[in-house]
């Protein structure tokens, strides 16, 4: 089954309106919780008047920060503990200030509007520059300045190497702030009955959420049940520990009734954490051929008003991936995370790695431009060769697994008809009536398969492994419990495909369950492209162990040795004796008959396996984008988008294609459309889907997808993951194409999102 494009098991329910998303769940006596959000970006709270709100029909109560003073802080940067609601001051527009509970969602919203909050404004620092200005006041206590973290990632600098380089150039690149904007916003339903709560939530790591909730409430973990039901997209933004995860159970406990919180979209745009927002200052040294000799990078991350423990350190991952798929002998990197009066930032599809790939892919193009060389040629001289794999990067512990970067580039150039495009580009440049044509390349590598444990512990997880329990039913069908918590990736399907091959059970006879801490053994979750490379291997291993035990029972039934059996369609057969055959169903049933089993064999066919990856995996590939640009308006139209991806073993080509498409779509959207903006007073300028440019059908192209399959030796399945590859590869493919189209005008860079206005200005103000 591995490698076959079977339709998904998840689809029947989702297509008929019988999915179960958090807001679809009803409990008797259900109450609705709504926040009062700050409309100020930086201000002292002088008074909160809740009286009018309390008097409204259906209102059960209104609470402010001091009502939760007893609850230990939510997961935070040590020393920078954050509460649930703003206390003395607000740090950004959208920060929750009070919480209202009412009998229905309309009445709760009415009451939230009736809460009067009085503020004493403080100076607003909505940008990193303002927050670091000499006269800036510290935003987040107990920090004494807005520089929340400054890290030298490498112990050395590369001043000597840059001095010794025949050429060097500098660039300042901006990777703008984006909103994850899954179509289903954040939601939580908590029902505290008896000794502890059951919590349905749109989360990516239910066991971790259980641990954090249990810790806050001083409960043993078995008393807390967290269920991630169908989750309507997440893209990393549902891995942050939002206050509602704790407030809903706390209020359910106090009120003795179930409490539901579901974000509105407008709220999502200011309340749920954003991603990216990184300024990159780069200097690169290179020789006449374009061989990169040294890279010096300073990253500045806007962490927003309240530092998030993941967000504050994401630039570490950017640093590790700075070399891309190139043999760069020496890299120096440092980063700063800066507090500003904006919504906090944390994980968003790729979380730190797309920023790195963007940086190095833009730099390679700049080097090519400086030398008057073709960007494809400069890539070629720098690419790590397949014979050098596994490749030790300049960063300790960052070792790339097997891949063939040059082959991916060659296949891409061939599929693009690169030479033909270059001719067409010249032809159009010479014809003033023609739109300008540009080709952009992105030979990318990213980091997937998160784990292993020592790395993932740093992000607060108990481990970097994943778990699977495989058990055969007496009729030979199988149920698998897996520790991931997918939100669209299709794990029910892909993991059943893996198990079907190992077990010899038909795909149709396998069910995969996840996302319920009361049902599934300890698990980690879904993020960091870890589904197939980590969970896939856990399933594979557990299934293999079950199959091995089934073989022993079959051998006993056939009065043969285990080694003498071969697998056949229905079950097991004695080698060369077609009549001596037993079905897997018969073996499964026999496994429950103690008196008929070989001596010492335990009952049942079941195994739980925890798979710890030996390392991260490194999905890679080469993407190419062809754009045309209107000379009058600066409007960019993506003519073609071509992907060559190497995610190692492809489990299901159809869902793999879907993951690539979706990631590329988000990457193109970052390049052309999306940016979360604030005015100088820290007021959001596009906090709705009317104003934030989430692309629709007419805004995105078709995608041409191709694969190179280089299996990873880092895990038995050979899979590398691909959930984040498209989002990692695409932004710079598009930007490189735009700059390429305008290169003859002297354009060197266009900042994302490359709106018609920005492109037009670049065309007219270059050189």
């Amino acid at each position: 089954m591995i490698g076959s494009a079977v339709p998904r098991k998840e689809d029947a329910a989702l297509l008929t309106g019988r999915g179960t998303f958090v807001d679809d769940i009803h409990r008797p006596g259900l109450l609705h919780m709504v926040y009062v959000h700050s409309g100020e970006a930086h201000a002292l709270i002088t008074q909160i008047d809740t009286e009018a709100a309390r008097a409204l029909p259906g209102v059960v109560g209104v609470w402010t920060a001091r009502d939760f003073a007893e609850l230990p802080a939510r997961p935070s940067v040590p020393g920078l503990e954050r509460g649930y609601l703003a206390g003395d001051k607000v740090h950004y527009v959208g920060e929750p200030v009070a919480v209202v509970v009412a009998t229905d969602r309309y009445l709760a919203a009415d009451a939230a509007r009736a809460v009067r909050v009085e503020y004493e404004p403080l100076p607003v620092m909505a940008t990193v520059a303002d927050a670091l200005a000499p006269d800036a006041v510290p935003i987040f206590a107990p920090l004494e300045s807005n520089l929340a973290l400054e890290q030298q990632v490498t112990p050395h600098d590369v001043a000597d190497e840059l001095d010794a380089s025949p050429h060097r150039l500098r660039a300042r690149l901006v990777n703008q702030r984006c909103a994850g904007a899954p179509l289903e916003p954040y939601g939580v339903l908590a029902d505290w009955t008896g000794a502890g709560p059951t919590i349905w939530a749109t989360v990516q790591a239910p066991h971790r959420v259980r641990a954090e909730i249990a810790e806050r409430f001083g409960l043993a973990r078995h008393l807390v049940r967290v269920i991630a039901p169908d989750v309507g997209g997440a893209f990393g933004v549902k891995s942050s520990f939002m206050p509602e995860l704790f407030l809903a159970p706390e209020l359910s406990r106090r009120l003795g009734r179930p409490v539901k919180f579901v974000e509105t979209r407008g709220e999502h745009m200011v309340h749920t954490y954003h991603g990216r927002d990184q300024i990159q200052e780069v200097e690169v040294g290179f020789d006449d051929e374009g061989t990169i000799l040294a890279l010096d990078v300073t990253l500045t991350v806007n962490t927003g008003g309240v530092p998030d423990p993941v967000g504050i350190a994401l630039a570490t991952l950017t640093s590790y991936m700075l070399g891309g798929c190139y043999r760069i002998p020496k890299i120096a990197a440092r980063f700063r995370s800066v507090v500003t009066n904006t919504t906090p930032t944390a994980s968003y599809r790729g979380a730190g790695r797309p920023e790195a790939s963007f940086l190095i892919e833009r730099v390679v193009d700049l080097v090519a431009r400086r030398l008057g060389k073709d960007p494809a040629d400069v890539r070629r001289v720098n690419l790590v060769q397949p014979g050098e794999m596994p490749y030790q990067t300049p960063f300790e512990g960052i070792v790339y697994d097997e891949a063939d970067y040059p082959a991916a580039l060659d296949l891409l150039l061939d599929r693009l008809d690169y030479a033909g495009l270059r001719e067409e580009q010249e032809r159009r440049r010479a014809d003033p009536g023609a739109k300008l044509l540009g080709v952009g390349l992105s030979t990318f590598v990213e980091m997937g398969g998160f784990g292993p444990t020592p790395l993932f512990e740093q992000f607060g997880y108990i481990g970097g492994w994943e778990s699977a329990n495989v058990r055969l039913q007496p009729d030979g069908s199988a149920i698998i419990l897996v520790g991931t918590a997918p939100h669209g990736q299709g794990h029910q399907t892909a993991l059943a495909q893996i198990a079907a091959d190992e077990l010899g059970v038909p795909f149709e006879a396998i069910s995969v369950l996840y996302g319920d801490t009361a049902v599934v053994q300890e698990g980690i979750g879904t993020m960091g492209s870890r589904g197939m490379p980590v969970a896939g291997n856990a399933v594979r291993q557990a299934a293999a162990d079950v199959a091995a035990k089934a073989r022993l029972i079959a051998a006993h039934m056939l009065e043969a040795e285990g080694d003498d059996l071969v697998r056949v369609e229905a079950g097991f057969q004695v080698k060369g004796v077609p009549t001596a055959e037993v079905s897997l169903a018969a073996v499964a049933e026999r496994s429950f008959k103690p008196h008929l089993l070989p001596a010492g064999t335990g009952l049942g066919l079941e195994c739980t396996s925890y798979y710890e990856p030996s390392n991260l995996s490194y999905p890679s590939g080469a993407h190419g984008c062809v754009v045309e640009i209107d000379r009058e308006t600066g409007h960019v139209h993506v003519l073609r988008y071509v992907c060559v991806d190497d995610c190692g073993t492809v489990i299901n080509p159809m869902t793999a294609r879907g993951q690539i498409h979706g990631g590329v779509a988000q990457g193109i959207a970052q390049a052309l459309y999306e940016k979360v903006s604030f005015d100088a007073d820290g007021r959001p300028l596009n906090a709705s889907l009317e104003d934030y440019m989430l692309p629709g059908m007419l805004d995105l192209p078709g995608y041409e997808t191709h694969h190179i399959e280089t299996k990873s030796s880092f895990n038995p399945l050979g899979a590398k993951g691909l959930g984040e590859a498209g989002a990692t590869a695409a932004p710079q493919a598009v930007v490189n194409a735009i700059v390429d189209a305008l290169a003859h005008l002297g354009v060197r860079d266009v900042e994302m999102p490359c709106t018609p206005e920005r492109v037009w200005k670049a065309m007219h103000h270059a050189s």
Binding site: P7, R8, E10, D11, A12, A13, L14, L15, T16, G17, R18, G19, F21, D23, D24, H26, L56, P57, D104, R105, Y106, A181, P182, L183, E184, P185, D230, V231, G232, G233, F235, T264, R265, G266, H487, G488, Q489, G490, M654, T655, R657, G658, H661, G662, V664, A665, Q666, S688, L689, E690, L694, G696, M697, L698, L700, G702, Y703
Partner: protein
């Protein structure tokens, strides 16, 4: 303070319903909260995303832009009303065959909009599909496989 109430009679998926509701109740909340038909989703508050798309007297509408009171006397079809006991409708099947959904949150609205499109244009071009569904957002698929799903449906039974 008294909450005002109006009576509405709305036929949903062939079933008549008579309920007392607040005049401000949106049709999408009437379907989801009053009737427990939770297949119709809410993805925004600016009528931008189309997750809430249903058919109102045969026309695709965003049910977050219609008051339940305005739908009084009307007939509504939701995603739960497509297909039948013998399986998925051609549009639903097209989405399954062509992987037109990932998380599935936009899907009910997308399926309703696609069904309405195929009713009007049984054999749409790619551009007509993209035009027809431009009011429906999907954050997961990048749209191409949705286009392919609708093409599959057009070739295999259409808007049934």
């Amino acid at each position: 303070m008294r909450v005002e109430i109006v009576r509405v009679e709305i036929t949903v998926n062939g079933q008549p319903h008579s309920r007392e509701v607040e005049p401000r109740l949106l049709l999408v909340h009437f379907l989801r909260d009053t009737l427990s038909l939770t297949g119709t989703h809410v993805g925004c508050d600016t009528s931008s995303c189309g997750a809430c798309t249903v058919m109102l007297d045969g026309v695709a509408v965003k049910s977050c832009t219609v008051l339940a009171a305005q739908a009084d006397g009307c007939s509504v079809t939701t995603v739960e009303g497509l297909g039948g006991p013998d399986g998925l409708s051609p549009v639903q099947e097209g989405f399954r065959q062509c992987h037109g959904l990932q998380c599935g949150f936009c899907t009910p609205g997308m399926v309703m909009a696609a069904t309405a499109l195929l009713t009007e244009r049984p054999d749409p071009s790619e551009q007509e599909i993209r035009d027809g569904l431009k009011g429906n957002m999907c954050r997961c698929t990048g749209y191409q496989m949705i286009v392919e799903s609708v093409q599959w449906a057009a070739a295999n039974g259409g808007a049934r």
